[in-house]
């Protein structure tokens, strides 16, 4: 047992900054008067910004820390930057909303910070124990956040999320136990050596399968998606926005790292499972979304379907030549998804009224006439989620499908493109309502909300025209 060195701390620097800052804020918040809680929001955002600065400074550094239990590499840095940016967006969306909905409370932002630290730890975990810790650290604050508005449906959402989430955690722990039983270790590298040293027991495969179930729950892949629509609908909208991006990113990066590092030897079995998971998620998510009339439920199913596309990147993970490109395409698509996703939720929040009003598709009728800029932004996001030019989503899908074809999964790519056509129908329904129906919507005009919507819309188009840097970052971010 050696004492931790400075290197160990440097590996986790952004995470540590954020954890310390969140703990400090817990104390500070007590002294902030009730009607000034937006100060906590600003302080939280500052903390994230500082951590983001350090995360960016870590680009290009590779290291391990704490007895190889956490890793710092291009992959974790990429994920951290994306997660921290999500945190900033999450706060920007909540800032005005919480005032408007009379739920401006300090703990909101602090819980968000804690959840964010869990997500970041997830991206850096090189040991299954850390994976589990991170999973709990990110989930528990989210359970609370889902119910934070104390409305009945929010509480239902929180409880549902908690119960099913606890169940999923159980799967993960049980999986870890089985893997430990099979290999005698929880370190990803040791598991890799144990698994690839020839014969491995069925225990290992079952353990990996159970882990997959747990992660599938987090990223809302079919058939582990049942909680998603209810939770997304019931939770306060900024929480949903943060959850549908952050928790998804964290789930995917953990899935990528654990499987690509520890289980390449199991790919003969698991690739088929992942194939089916991805195909099912794309098909069910998109088809069920067709019949939704509530925008939050529609976007929940859309988020499920999007998980299917990202999973596609992951199917050829055992193929040494294709895997790096495939995972890079998954990361690229995660960025595209995150940006468009936050923008979409920004528009939803702008239209939302108290008491769950303003959330039906019909409430979007006539938006283009009254608020053309907002309608254009929403159109851009919808096109991006369909995968239509000139948006980032299109470039992302192009990259994803190439990885699938490269890996020899043409069938999956065909399912992917055909379900994209299905998705066009429900995304376009939003556009139809905004542009082709008469209505008189009213919109909240909040600086940070408008800022988020504008910047994500511009990024969605601009980055699709000059995507080189993002391509480069994603392709060098693979360990």
């Amino acid at each position: 047992m050696t004492l931790p060195t400075l290197t160990d701390f440097y590996v986790l620097l952004p995470y540590i900054i954020l954890t310390v800052w969140a703990s400090v804020l817990l104390l500070v918040d007590v002294f902030i008067p009730k009607n000034r809680k937006s100060l906590t929001a600003i302080l939280s955002a500052l903390g994230i910004a500082v951590a983001l600065g350090y995360a960016i400074a870590q680009i290009g550094v590779t290291s391990k820390g704490f007895n190889n239990m956490v890793a710092l590499d291009g992959f974790s840095v990429f994920a951290n930057i994306l997660l921290l940016a999500s945190g900033l967006f999450g706060i920007a969306l909540a800032y005005g909303y919480n005032n408007r909905m009379n739920m401006q409370r300090g703990e909101y932002y602090i819980l968000l910070l804690f959840s964010l630290t869990g997500m970041m730890l997830m991206a850096q975990a090189a040991d299954l124990i850390i994976v589990f810790l991170a999973l709990e650290l990110l989930s528990i604050p989210l359970y609370v956040l889902s119910a934070i508005s104390r409305r009945l449906d929010a509480e239902e959402s929180g409880v549902k999320y908690f119960l099913l989430g606890a169940f999923a955690s159980g799967f993960v722990v049980y999986g870890i136990a089985l893997i430990f039983g099979a290999t005698g270790s929880t370190a990803l590298n040791d598991i890799f050596f144990a698994a690839s040293s020839g014969t491995f027991s069925l225990l290992l495969t079952v353990g990996a399968g159970l882990l997959l179930v747990g992660f599938s729950f987090k990223v809302a892949a079919v058939p582990f998606h049942m909680w998603t629509p209810d939770v997304y609908q019931g939770a306060p909208t900024p929480v949903t926005a943060f959850m549908s991006s952050g928790a998804k990113i964290a789930g995917f990066v953990a899935l990528f790292r654990v499987f690509a590092v520890a289980f390449p030897a199991l790919s003969d079995d698991l690739t088929n499972v992942l194939w089916a998971l991805s195909a099912l998620t794309m098909i069910i998510g998109n088809f069920v979304a067709l019949s939704q009339t509530n925008i939050k439920r529609l976007l929940a199913y859309s988020a499920i379907a999007q998980a299917g596309y990202i999973l596609m990147a992951f199917v050829p993970y055992g193929n040494k030549e294709v895997a790096p490109v495939a995972i890079a395409s998954g990361l690229f698509y995660l960025v595209a998804y995150t940006i468009s996703n936050f923008g979409t939720w920004g528009v939803v929040i702008a239209l939302e009224k108290a008491e769950n009003k303003g959330l039906e598709l019909d409430d979007y009728a006539g938006l283009a006439k009254k608020y053309p800029a907002l309608a254009i932004a929403m159109t851009v996001f919808m096109l991006s989620l369909i995968g239509f030019p000139p948006t980032l989503g299109m470039v992302g899908k192009f990259y994803l499908f190439r990885a699938a074809i490269d890996g020899g999964f043409v069938g999956l790519a065909i399912i992917g493109v055909l379900t994209s056509v299905v998705s066009a129908y429900y995304y376009l329904r939003v556009v139809v309502n905004m542009y082709m129906k008469e209505g008189d919507p009213t919109v909240e005009n909040e600086t940070w909300l408008n800022f988020t919507t504008a910047i994500t819309a511009i990024a969605t188009v601009a980055v699709s025209i000059v995507p080189n840097i993002l391509f480069l970052l994603a392709s060098t971010a693979v360990f």
């Binding site: 030019p389 790519a413 129908y425 376009l428």
Partner: protein, 497 residues
């Protein structure tokens, strides 16, 4: 700076400048917006004339190339690559011309949300020019898909009563077709390590069985756009519901994107599959010619009649293309232009009368010839041009196509040409039957109730260029064939025939 000053870049993206200006205008300044849009489209048209003046028609190769590295990371090798050759130069000129004409025809027809309309229309022009000029598959795909977006809005916002249904059907149908092409493009990109079409053509050697699959994927995309029988059912809805300007562009340019796709991608990239598939395409084209004409005859709505006649006319274009001989291909490219001119003119005229009466039922008209003589003359010329009367443009195209198809080795059976020739007769039947019911005989119901006005000066100016070209191509088509010949010869020389 060098990037911007490339003639083809300028041609493609100049309308964006207009969009930008329009965005800063107040939505209430409708006339200012109209003038900006018209001015932009006219300048774009002049840029295309400038491009044409630099174009060397004796050179069969790609010219005025603008080629830059665009995305060359992550094993992508994507170029920003625009170029023009004999196959595309006429289509580009037609695109810029028809855009100006369409904008002119909306002057009084579009009163609602003029700002949005003009912005979408100019965006559409960017997409269309890009489709005809892009030589990189990725770039092409972006332009190709992008054209759907503004057209979707144009149909969905300013269309007829069933506009939303028609717009979504148009969008989904076309997207469903082109999405499989995306996979084929990706396969080619992996295979050739480039998306540049000339490089892929030069590399060639795609295994025959895979060629067939790729050919199929591209064919589905283009066949839906053309539209070929049996994937034409989006077209009547979209055409009928679209506002006049939308119909003109839809028939004039968007459909040609499909036939152009066959010409630019299917034939050079998959030569073996092309030769193999030629008889089948010819079969579908022939069915389309007869079917389209037959259904046209039965229509009670004049716009629907013209829409279905497009299915028939585009059947001729496809038949000529897959005759795979110089007469057939050159004839079919010319017929693409002809169809744009004639059908464009018919849609414009129908739009002009619809603006006054708000009905397109053939049976409520009658006796228009006496009431609106100028309108009648324009309609007669356009109708005759569409049905292929000798001396007008339609005849030249259809005759050359049939000549090519008759002697085609690729199709291998003169019967296709023989049956298709019936389509010309049927065209005469449905067109003249329509003309007779609308313009001859006693005055119909609507002509009693309305004080119908004849065409005004703006409408006449809109029509004149189209009429001029009907006669020009009809009487002296040689300059047009001279532009096409070298490029067509080069295209066909690579085929294993």
């Amino acid at each position: 700076m060098e990037f911007i000053s490339q003639p083809l870049t300028l041609l493609t993206f100049f309308p964006l400048l207009g969009v930008l200006v329009i965005l800063f205008l107040n939505a209430e300044q409708k006339n200012a917006i109209r003038w900006v849009a018209l001015g932009t489209s006219l300048i774009t048209f002049f840029i295309s004339l400038w491009v044409f003046s630099m174009f060397d028609s004796s050179n069969p190769n790609l010219q005025l190339e603008a080629k830059y590295n665009w995305i060359n990371v992550a094993r992508f090798n994507i170029h920003y690559y625009l170029a023009i050759d004999g196959l595309s130069v006429l289509l580009v000129l037609m695109t810029t011309a028809l855009t100006s004409i369409s904008i002119l025809c909306t002057w009084s027809a579009i009163e609602d949300r003029v700002k949005d309309f003009m912005a979408f229309f100019l965006l559409l022009e960017v997409g269309m020019s890009g489709v005809f000029l892009a030589q990189d598959l990725f770039l092409f795909y972006i332009f190709w898909e992008f054209t759907l977006v503004p057209m979707y809005f144009i149909i969905g916002i300013w269309g007829g009563p069933r506009r939303v249904y028609a717009a979504i059907k148009f969008f989904l149908y076309t997207m469903a077709g082109s999405i499989l092409m995306l996979l084929a493009i990706l396969w080619l990109g992996i295979y050739g390590n480039t998306f540049s079409v000339p490089d892929l053509v030069a590399k060639g050697n795609i295994p025959a069985n895979i060629q067939l699959w790729l050919f199929l994927a591209f064919t589905i995309a283009f066949a839906i756009k053309v539209p070929m029988w049996p994937v034409h059912s989006w077209l009547p809805d979209a055409h009928v519901e679209a506002p006049t300007a939308g119909s003109v562009i839809l028939a004039g340019v968007l459909l040609k994107m499909g036939t152009y796709g066959f010409l630019r991608f299917n034939i050079p990239l998959f030569p073996d599959a092309t030769v193999q598939a030629a008889p089948w395409i010819a079969l579908l084209a022939t069915i389309g010619i007869i079917y389209g004409a037959w259904v046209s005859y039965a229509q009670a709505d004049v716009k629907k009649l013209v829409a279905y006649s497009s299915v028939s006319h585009l059947g001729f274009v496809m038949l000529g293309l897959f005759a795979l001989n110089p007469e057939g291909v050159a004839g079919s490219i010319l017929q693409m232009i002809n169809h744009g001119i004639s059908t464009g003119a018919l849609f414009l005229l129908i739009g002009m009368i619809y603006e006054q009466t708000h009905t397109r039922e053939i049976k409520v008209y009658g006796g228009l010839w006496k009431i609106t003589p100028v309108f009648g003359v324009f309609m007669l010329i356009s109708a005759l041009s569409s049905m292929g009367l000798p001396g007008l443009n339609g005849f030249v195209g259809e005759f050359t196509i049939l000549l090519g198809a008759f002697g085609s080795n690729a199709i291998g059976n003169p019967w296709y040409a023989g049956i298709s020739a019936l389509g010309v007769i049927m065209a005469a039947v449905y067109i003249l039957y329509m003309f007779q019911r609308m313009f001859m005989g006693p005055a119909g119901e609507i002509t009693h109730h309305h004080q119908l006005k004849d065409l005004n000066w703006r409408e006449i100016i809109t029509m004149i260029p189209l009429i001029v070209f009907m006669f020009w191509i009809g009487l002296y088509p040689k300059p047009f064939f001279d532009i096409l010949a070298p490029a067509v010869e080069k295209l066909l020389s690579a085929l294993p025939l």
